[in-house]
Each structure stands twice: as C-alpha cells, then as structure tokens.
C-alpha cells in the first residue's frame, strides 16, 4: 500500500475489522447456544455427510434392536409353551406306562385313555398360544388358530418360517411351526397320543401300546427337547446380538456427537478470545479516529 493514508481508509479499515470480529463472535455464540458444531451443511460439508451417515446408522441400529427385542420376546413365549407341552408329554408317558400294565382292568384303562385325550386337548390349547395378537405356532398364517380344541386334530397353520432382521443382512427365524412340535392330524405327537388312547380302550392293541406307542411318545419327547434346545440357542444368539447392537449404538452416538456437537470448552475459549479482540478493535478504532491535525492547529 502506498504511503498516503486518508480518513476514509482509516474508517473503512476500523469498521471492517470490527465487523469481521463481530461476525466471528456471533458464529461462536450460535455454536454455544445451539450446542452444535454443524448448523448448516456449508459449516463443514464433509462432516455433514458423516453426521448424516452416523444418524442413518444409528436409526437402523435402533430398529435392529427393536427387532431383536421382539424376536427375544417371541422366543420366551415359545419356550414357555414348549416347556408346558414337555410337562404334559412326561405326564402322558407315565400314564401310558401305567396303562400298559396288565394289573389294570378295562375301566381303569378307559379312565387313563380319557385323561390322555384331555392332555392332548391341553397340548392343542398350548399350540394356540398367542403373542401380541399372533398365533406363534401357526407359521405365517398368524391370524389362523393352528389347532381346533375339541375338534379335529389337523394343523391349520402353514410351514413358513418368520424372520426378523437383526443386523444389516442378518436374519433370524423367530418361530417354530406347530406341525413340527405337535404334529398334524394322525402324525406326530398328537397322533401318537390319540393312538395310545385308542389302544387303551376296549379292543385296543395292548402289545402295540407297550412297544410302538410308547416308542412314538418317547421319540416325540426327544424331538421336543431338541426343539427347545434350538429355541434356547436362538434366544442366546439374540441376547448376544442385542448386546452387540447396543455397544454399536453407543459407538455411533459418540461418533455423531464428536462430529456434530460443539466442544463447549473450546467454543467458550474461542468466544472469550473473540470478545477481547472485539473490545480491542473498538478501543483502537476509537483512538485511531479521534485525533486529527485540527486538534493541534489554532
């Protein structure tokens, strides 16, 4: 700049300095009052895109956690139902063993047969267990009662597995279909129970009762244990997934906060520095503008 300094220049310079400090101060103030480092994309376009990605990740994570929780509840409902059926099968097995004993007369066996039928109906009742308005053993036909208690033994649901997404591309089946647990009509557990009851009644095949029927019920009992173990394993997997998701949520929240939120200590220091710069600019401006040759000429 050439040597000549005019009054207009001084005024402009002072004004533009004061304005630029005031602008920086207002930015700091905005950061402090909003608590955000990023208030518009142009503050830092790259950080904005990261913030959006973290947000998206976080939203997806929360959703996966919700899915995992729902799947977990489903597992505990299923597990409880399977436990109850297990108890009933145990009782049925004892009854069949007792009924197979020659010491009982026809009346006693008929009574046992009656009890077996009651147990079968109770199993069908448990097969109709609902969770949040849905039949859990019905496959995807969740609005259809899988078994008609007091009616025919057919399975009215389907064999579909229902899956929940508990991570990006990670799906887990949440249901066990009724036909694999209780059977359908004359097959499976219910079928075995009905056959045993029939064989206990007059004209029944006592030999079959001791051999095939008892074996069939034992097989069904084993299958039930296997299914229950599988449900338990699934529940463990869901718990682990929920833990992992919640850890990831914490990490993503931290990252989002680091990207988006203002560092209060830093912002405060910035602000107080700018505030002193502002006062200095005002003071020097006042001193610079005041004197002129006029003050000294008489």
């Amino acid at each position: 700049m050439s040597g000549r300094i005019t009054d207009g220049m001084t005024a402009r310079l002072v004004l533009s300095d004061i304005q630029s400090v005031a602008e920086r101060m207002s930015r700091s103030q905005e950061r402090m009052s909003s608590g955000k480092q990023l208030t518009r994309p142009s503050d830092d376009p790259f950080a904005t895109s990261r913030a959006l990605m973290y947000r998206e990740e976080l939203a997806a994570n929360v959703q996966y956690q919700r899915n995992a929780e729902d799947a977990s509840s489903w597992q505990s409902v299923t597990d409880t139902a399977l436990g109850q059926i297990g108890d009933l099968v145990q009782r049925a097995r004892e009854l069949v063993v007792r009924g197979a004993n020659d010491t009982l007369d026809a009346t006693g066996r008929a009574a046992i047969a009656g009890e077996l039928d009651q147990i079968t109906e109770a199993m069908k009742g448990i097969g109709n267990t609902q969770y949040a308005g849905r039949y859990v053993f019905s496959g995807s036909a969740t609005q259809t009662e899988p078994y008609a208690t007091g009616g025919a033994d057919g399975y009215a649901g389907n064999g579909d597995l229902i899956e929940r997404e508990i991570g990006r591309g990670v799906r887990i089946a949440v249901n066990v279909t009724g036909d694999t647990v209780l059977g359908d009509g004359s097959s499976g557990l219910i079928g075995a129970m009905r056959t045993a009851a029939a064989n206990l009644r007059v004209g029944g095949d006592m030999n079959a009762l001791r051999t095939t029927d008892l074996r069939a019920i034992t097989t069904a009992q084993d299958a039930l244990s296997t299914t229950r173990a599988a449900v338990g394993a699934r529940a463990n997997r869901l718990d682990a997934a929920a833990d992992r998701l919640s850890q990831m949520e914490g990490a993503a929240t931290q990252l989002l906060s680091n990207t988006e939120d203002a560092d209060f200590a830093e912002t405060l220091i910035d602000y107080s520095m700018q505030s002193s710069a502002y006062q200095a600019a005002l003071k020097s401006g006042a001193n610079l503008i005041q004197p002129s040759l006029m003050d000294f000429l008489r």
Partner: protein
C-alpha cells in the same frame, strides 16, 4: 526592453488569485470528504509565461492556474471492477445457496434424511407385525411424511428458482436504469467539455454509476472520439453508445441489446451478479432438483416394483406382494418425482406378504425395508438412498461453502483495491488542513509582496521630484 512599473502588482495579483483558488479547492475537498465516489481535486499551478526583456533574459510573471484535476488512477478502477465482478457473482451465489441450505434443514432431526430413515424403520416395524393394522397405519403415515418432505423440498427449490429468475429480471432492469443515469451524465459531461470545462464532479458521479454497473457485469468503458461521452459495454454488449441507450434484455442465459444490429453474449458464471444468478437459475438449482427427483424416482420405482410386482430399477422382474385383503399388484406410491410422490396404498393394502392367505408373512415388507441398505440401485450409481441424499446435502454444502469463500476473497481483494483507490483519491483531512495553512501563508505572502510594490510605487509617485519642497 523596459518593464512596466506596475508589472509587479500584476504578478502578485496572480499569486493572490492562485492561492485563493487553491484554498477554494481545499474547501471543496473538505466539504466532500465523506461523499461517496468523490475524487480529491487539486488546482494545477504553473509559472506563467515569462516576459522577454532582452539581453537580461526572461522575467518571471507569476503563477497561472492551469486546471483543476481529479487525482485518480484509472488502472485501479479497472482492477477494482475486475474484483467487484467476481464478488458480485459470488455474492449472488452465496445468497441463493444460503436459502437452499435453510430449506434443507440438515443436519437435524427434522430434515428429509430423518423422514427417509423413519420410512424404512416403519417397513421394518411392519415386518415385525405384518398383520397389525396400527403398524400398517403407522407405515402409511411415515410414508406420507416422507412424501411431503420430498414435495416440500422440491417446492422450496422451485420457489428459490423462481425468486432467482425474478432477481435476474430485476438486475437487468437495474443495469438499464444505471444506463439511463450514464446517458444523462454523458450528455452533461459532453456539454461541459464542449465549452472547455473540466466537469470533475460529474465524472466522479459517472464513475460511481460505473462501479455499480461493475457489480452486475463486466464493464468496458471507452471514449473513442474524446468528446467526454463514453461508450459502455456490459459483458461486451453495448449499453451506452455515446448518447444512445441500448436497452439490455436477458433470455435463456443470453444477454442482448436492442441496437439496430443486436449484440448478444452468453452469461457465464463468473460474469458478475447477473452471471451468478443465471448460473443459479439455469444450472445449480435445476441440478439439485434433478438429483432430488432421481432419488424420489428411484425410491418410488423400487418400492412399487417390490410392492406390486413389475420390473425394478435394475431391470429385475419382481413377483410383488399381497395386502391383508389378499389382493396383489397394487403400487405403494403414486407419482414419478420429488414433487409428485404420494402414498397410493391404504393400510390394509400394504403388501407385506409374498403370497395370499399369509397375514403373518413379512417377507415382502422385509424386501422393501432392505432397499434402505441396497447399494446396487442402478440410477444411484453405487449409493444407497440415504447415501445419495447425503451426497446431495454435501454437494449443496460444498457449493455454498465455495461461494462463501469466493465472496470472502472477493471482499478482501476489493477492500484492498478500494483502499488503494482511497489512498490515491480519498480526502485526507490532515493533508487538507496542511494545505489550508500553506495556501493561507501563500496568500499572506502575496499580499505582503503587493504591499511592498505599493510602497515602492507610493515612493515613486508621492515622494519623487520633491527635493527641497
């Protein structure tokens, strides 16, 4: 050759007058110290023609006032206008893009990104309870919210574009209005110069108008015939031809005038406020809108293909799903772009199941929910929907930041040049005070010289020849 006895009086009179005029000029400078665009003036003094008095040589005859000049460096004007041109373009862009950022409302809990995220979350929720009407209702509401978010953003972008188009028209009008001012000043300056005056203050006013015009476009100034009336071009298109106004108009990014043989020039982004606004109107804003439309279009096409069956955005034929009522083949969204997107399906029609009679089957809802993480959607070139939106936000953010930087740079550079101009042309009160003292002393000294002459002549006339009286 003899010299007139009274010559000295004449010489000192010239001195007196010259100092007086110089004082007048200082007074004028001080009076205009804060006038915008004022250029300090100076009375140009020169020793007057000397008198040839023969063998003794040339006798000085005092001082002449030759001219009142404006102290100005035309080169700084050219440099400054080159900077204000860039600053004008950057300011226009900065303003427009700041508005876009405002309507974008990102990053926040209320922007479109959150609404897109909620939309996909609602599909996941539906996949968790496909037979539940409340969940279906919630999905339809989230989808409506997102559709409104798209439509709102598209509408706001259109509004900003309309406003920008209005600003282009206003700016052209402003240029024409400045043209009329220039015309009047040109005529006045020409008239003054014709009678031999130097119309400094009128020229200052003309320079102020030219500075204003320099923000709008690239200004060219020429005075080919030297009559004081300048020819002014904006981006190479003549606005003022001597004392004729060629009204400017803009159409489709082309600036033209109404000369008998019309001239025209393409408005490029760096060409001042007009160039910046046209860039915003014709390329930047439509570009954002197109990205948003591509995003909405992809979302609509992909969701509908999976929902109701048909060819998806990658050309894969999808079987489609079925609603609670067992009917399939219905689209989820209507519309094709960000402005027209709307939800077409009723809650019970939402096709969560892949087959009829399976109310608990969430597989189709899961397929739609999975669009969220699908990075193979052909129109988005390897980005997911959320990524593509984040890219758009980043693009707007970087464009805006770039415009802010350019505007800041333009401000700094034009400030520096404005300071240089002020350094040359501005009024310094201290300097003028000094000049006042200087010229006052000069005036006093001239008066004293006149006094001496007077006494000398007094001696000659009143005392001479009175010896012995």
């Amino acid at each position: 050759m003899s010299v007139s006895t009274f010559r000295g009086i004449e010489t000192t009179l010239r001195g007196l007058l010259a100092q007086q005029r110089s004082l007048d000029v200082s007074g004028h400078n001080i009076a205009n110290a804060n006038t915008v665009g004022y250029t300090r003036q100076r009375a140009e003094l020169a020793a007057s023609r000397p008198l040839d008095i023969g063998p003794q040589g040339l006798l000085g005859s005092g001082v002449d006032l030759t001219n009142f000049v404006r102290v100005r460096d035309d080169f700084i004007d050219v440099q400054l206008r080159a900077q204000t041109l860039l600053k004008g373009a950057a300011d226009a862009r900065e303003d427009g893009l700041a508005q876009v950022e405002l309507v974008l409302n990102e990053p926040s809990e209320r922007g479109l990104s959150t609404q897109i995220s909620r939309y996909f979350a609602a599909w996941q929720d539906l996949a968790g309870a496909p037979e539940n009407m409340a969940t279906r209702q919630a999905l339809v509401e989230s989808a409506r919210g997102m559709a409104e978010g798209f439509a709102n953003l598209a509408g706001q972008l259109d509004t900003i574009r309309t406003q920008t188009a209005g600003a282009v028209t206003n700016t052209v009008d402003e240029a024409n209005s400045l043209g009329r001012d220039l015309l009047a000043l040109n005529e006045a300056i020409k008239a003054a110069q014709a009678v031999g005056h130097e119309p400094n203050d009128l020229k200052d006013q003309r320079d102020v108008v030219l500075d204003k015009l320099g923000v709008i476009g690239s200004v060219g100034v020429k005075d080919d015939d030297g009559d004081g009336a300048v020819t002014v071009t904006v981006n190479g298109v003549t606005l003022i031809d001597g004392t004729t106004l060629r009204t400017l108009s803009e159409s489709g990014g082309l600036l033209s005038n109404d000369a008998p043989t019309p001239e025209s020039a393409t408005l490029t982004p760096e060409l001042g406020k007009l160039g910046g606004l046209v860039e915003l109107r014709d390329r930047t804003l439509p570009g954002y809108r197109a990205s948003l439309d591509a995003l909405a279009g992809t979302l609509i096409a992909q969701t509908n293909a999976i929902h109701g069956g048909g060819t998806d955005v990658n050309g894969v034929v999808r079987p489609g799903g079925y609603g609670l009522d067992g009917v399939g083949g219905r689209p989820f969204f209507s519309g094709t772009d960000a402005a027209s997107i709307a939800v077409a399906a009723l809650p019970e029609q939402v096709a969560a199941a892949s087959a009829t009679g399976k109310p608990g089957d969430p597989s189709n809802a899961q397929l739609i929910a999975a669009i969220r993480t699908d990075a193979t959607l052909a129109p988005l070139a390897g980005a997911t929907i959320a990524d593509a939106y984040a890219q758009l936000v980043t693009k707007i953010g970087s464009d805006s930041r770039e415009a802010q930087r350019a505007a800041e740079n333009g401000k700094v550079l034009s400030d520096v040049l404005e300071n240089r101009r002020q350094s040359v042309s501005g009024v310094s009160i201290d300097e003028e005070m000094t000049n006042l003292v200087r010229f006052q002393r000069g005036y006093q000294a001239s008066a004293r010289a006149l006094n001496a002459m007077d006494e000398m002549i007094d001696l000659l006339i009143n005392r001479t020849g009175r010896v012995g009286l």
